[in-house]
């Protein structure tokens, strides 16, 4: 109740700043009588209740989380289709690059935060499995003329080791996105080594020193307190663990930047309206990209969280940056 009154008061002040006549009759009677104390509280609270950006809008921090949740709840069903349409399929290349740089070995544990529909987790499991097969093939080639005893031994050990080792946990704050991801997994028949958890990146429900790799792909710009998310990443990673972040970033080349801006602001919301029926969410998406810190600044933030050997790779001329750091 107090919160809604605070919002009301703030809205009124905003309106009055714009020299719009707000009649007292417009306000509910209750706010009229406690105007004085609530306005005082409002000003002091405004100092404490920090505001942040939601795209190009300014909102309070609590509002941002709710609004972001709403955005992804709306787009969850069409998320993958929209990704393909907006990036012209290039997002697959970006994600494959992430896996390539990650180069996971069989037996590692991955935490994919803001993993939503599970793209990174699926790629991870596939990569690890193909790695295992490559190793098996190499082992088989090295054994020139195996005896039947050796072959039967190999078969028995293979089944035990394989599926148990590498695990991927997909964590997302949004249930709808995870539901879509789980459906995808079920339809692709991937279930071994894959887990789904609803959780907040700023308050991860995982114990310390648990994961070998922490990834967050195109999710960190939606987090209200990025530094908290980075600290949580530091906490849950094992010593020697790797933090990897794929995110839209600043384009360095000015010509490309101009083209990219035009494409972003003219095409993407239109695509959003046509395909997903949601202009505003994709307007938010495009604006939130502009609000996110650039490569160097984000690198600094990662270093502040306690990661070492932080570096970034620019993909597609800086449209996307892959940041990587280690917990040592």
């Amino acid at each position: 109740m107090a919160a809604s009154m605070r919002l009301l008061v703030r809205r009124v002040i905003r309106l009055s700043h714009r020299n719009v006549n707000v009649t007292a009759a417009g306000l509910p009677g209750r706010s009229g009588c406690c105007w004085a104390p609530s306005s005082c509280r409002c000003f002091s609270d405004a100092a404490g209740d920090k505001s942040t950006h939601f795209g190009f809008e300014t909102v309070s921090e609590s509002e941002k989380a709710k609004k972001v949740y709403k955005v992804f709840e709306n787009v969850a069903q069409k998320y993958d289709v929209m990704n393909d349409a907006m990036s012209l399929g290039i997002h697959r290349v970006w994600k494959d690059m992430l896996l390539h740089v990650m180069h996971p070995q069989p037996g590692v544990r991955l935490l994919d935060v803001a993993g939503g529909t599970g793209d990174i987790a699926f790629r991870f499991l596939e990569y690890v499995r193909s790695q295992q097969e490559r190793q098996k093939r190499r082992a088989a080639r090295s054994m020139q003329t195996p005896s039947w005893q050796d072959i039967s031994n190999n078969y028995s050990t293979e089944d035990e080791d394989g599926p148990q080792e590498s695990t991927a946990v997909v964590c997302d704050i949004n249930k709808e996105m995870l539901k879509v991801g789980k459906q995808k997994a079920d339809s692709m028949g991937i279930s071994a080594g894959l887990s789904w958890v609803v959780g907040d990146a700023e308050e991860l429900p995982f114990d310390d020193d648990q994961f070998d790799i922490y990834t967050i792909a195109f999710g960190i710009r939606n987090v209200t307190h990025i530094d908290q998310a980075l600290q949580e990443a530091q906490r849950v990673l094992k010593p020697g663990g790797r933090f990897m972040c794929l995110e839209f970033s600043k384009v360095t080349n000015p010509v490309l930047a101009r083209l990219y801006d035009t494409y972003s602001f003219q095409m993407i919301p239109v695509l959003g309206e046509v395909i997903a029926g949601d202009w505003k969410s994709y307007q938010y998406l495009v604006e939130s990209i502009r609000k996110f810190p650039d490569q160097e600044e984000f690198k600094g933030m990662i270093e502040d969280a306690g990661f070492y050997c932080v570096r970034y790779y620019n993909l597609t001329g800086g449209v996307v940056a892959l940041h990587s750091g280690f917990k040592l």
Binding site: S62, K175, K179, V197, V198, G199, P205, D207, D208, H225
Partner: protein, 117 residues
Amino acid sequence: MLRNVLGRLVTDTVRVHRYVNGAPLIQRLTPASVSVRSFSDVKDEVQQPFDASLLEFLVCPLSKKPLRYEAETNELINDELGIAYPIIGGIPNMIPQEARLIQKDTDTTTTTTPTQG
């Protein structure tokens, strides 16, 4: 839960009657097979293991202490703080605001999080 199964039965049979134009025999058969399937589907969803191996590293986001899996209510319980996190569709929901306060009488959702980090 039984209501959900019955509801699904009803909608499935209605749907089948609407779309199937074939012989009445088939019509009569399909609802039965659908109902059998729906029963097993519901059972599968509930049994769909909440993967207990998750409990190895899953903790309460507030206290960072390990949780206890309660099979009857299908929840993860933090006895220390007295809250229960629901598991929906095999996916545990570890958002503090969605957790249930375990008290003797009340059953309301709680906002115990100190949101300033």
